[in-house]
């Protein structure tokens, strides 16, 4: 029973309750950082770290947080983890830190983090909340990486900065600009909802 619950908690954000293509959360960063695989990877790791640890921390304190100020407490905890990510990036990966610019700091306002804390961590035990945060982060990560794969490949003919397509390839510049993010995300949501999710709801 307990094992089932952990399994369910872990699998739901990856599939039928995915934060990006089902709940449509965290779209701002989805559109902003997905034009290069490398940046996307670092960004998703930052979000993964933040969702997992904030959920865990808030869940640890859940019986002591006065409900009137719970959002202030949540924001404070989330901001702390995000600033840790920012400081560590600045010290150890300065090039990446420069490229991501303000987006690392903006993880604080990523609805997925706050959403999982509010909807899950406040009612569940620390370990289960950690699993939920981790899974939500992963659910966010793989969708973003998929989008970044398409955008970087079509937009620059490269993947992870390495040239994949030959010189015959004409870069689709629109793909690495903001509109490209909207196109790829919308097409992805459409495909998933029309195929996989439709079958699942019939079954």
């Amino acid at each position: 029973m307990a094992k089932n619950k952990v399994r369910k908690t872990f699998l739901e954000p990856l599939g039928k309750n995915n934060p990006v293509f089902v709940q449509i959360l965290g779209i701002c960063s989805t559109l902003a950082v997905t034009n290069k695989l490398q940046n996307t990877m670092v960004m998703t790791l930052g979000v993964l770290f933040t969702t997992a640890l904030s959920s865990w921390t808030i869940s640890l304190m859940r019986n002591h947080i006065p409900s009137r100020i719970r959002m202030m407490v949540e924001t404070m905890v989330i901001a702390t983890f995000v600033i840790i990510v920012d400081i560590v990036l600045k010290a150890f990966y300065p090039e990446m830190w420069k490229q991501l610019g303000p987006y690392v700091g903006l993880i604080i306002t990523n609805c997925i983090v706050m959403g999982r804390v509010e909807a899950f961590a406040l009612q569940n035990k620390p370990m289960l909340s950690l699993v939920d945060g981790l899974a939500s982060g992963l659910g966010y990560a793989y969708v973003l990486l998929a989008i970044a794969f398409v955008r970087e490949l079509l937009g620059t003919g490269s993947l992870w900065g390495y040239r994949i397509l030959g010189s015959w390839w004409t870069n689709w510049s629109i793909m690495i600009m903001p509109p490209g993010g909207f196109f790829v995300l919308a097409i992805l949501i459409w495909i998933i909802r029309e195929t996989i999710m439709k079958e699942a709801s019939h079954a």
Partner: protein, 197 residues
């Protein structure tokens, strides 16, 4: 009694709780910040030094240690600019800032002794569109200024031949124009900074 209890529960406890949480969070982040500050400052310094070396056209090993070695050996710091001397004559490197399409572009420009001929250009920071305007950081773009004199004219990507022509970036016309404007101001700025004219 019960009034006091609710007063504590509704007013005092939330205040104390928030105070404690804030205290611990700030303690943690401040601690990590202080622990990594030296490293972050070193990165920043190394980045500026690298830009100076690039602008002066000096080759170096691209590691923190390699940059430091080359910089300390070749570069001298003056008031608001840098100089290098070597077998190929004295060079002046000045920092320069100007508007880009989205934000400020800041660069280092290296000059030969005449303060006219470029020895190189290096980007210190920029916020141009990733994949388009941000390509001003790519070596093929910055390298093409080497040995040329302003005022520059932009031509279509891949067609620059004359000594005052530079390739614009396809899909980033505006950023290219801003960058050209910045480069065109560089010689005047250099005379102002170096000779006080």
């Amino acid at each position: 009694m019960s009034v006091q209890k609710t007063f504590y529960k509704d007013r005092i406890y939330p205040l104390l709780f928030m105070f404690l949480i804030t205290f611990f969070c700030i303690l943690l982040t401040a601690g990590i910040h202080l622990a990594t500050q030296d490293r972050a400052n070193a990165n920043e310094l190394s980045f500026t030094r690298k830009a100076v070396l690039d602008a002066a056209g000096i080759t170096y090993v691209n590691t923190t240690a390699g940059i430091e070695e080359a910089y300390l050996k070749r570069v001298e710091e003056a008031d608001g600019y840098f100089t290098t001397s070597g077998s190929d004559g004295k060079r002046f490197i000045i920092p320069l800032e100007g508007p880009g399409l989205w934000g400020t572009i800041s660069i280092m420009v290296g000059f030969e002794e005449d303060l006219q001929t470029f020895t190189g250009v290096a980007i210190v920071s920029q916020n141009e569109t990733p994949g388009l305007g941000a390509r001003i950081e790519e070596p093929w773009f910055t390298d093409q200024f080497r040995g040329k004199r302003p005022p520059f004219t932009l031509v279509e990507e891949g067609t620059a031949t004359a000594s005052n022509e530079v390739d614009a970036i396809t899909g980033a016309t505006r950023t290219s124009e801003y960058f050209r404007n910045l480069a065109n101001q560089a010689a005047d700025a250099a005379k102002r900074i170096v000779r006080g004219e």
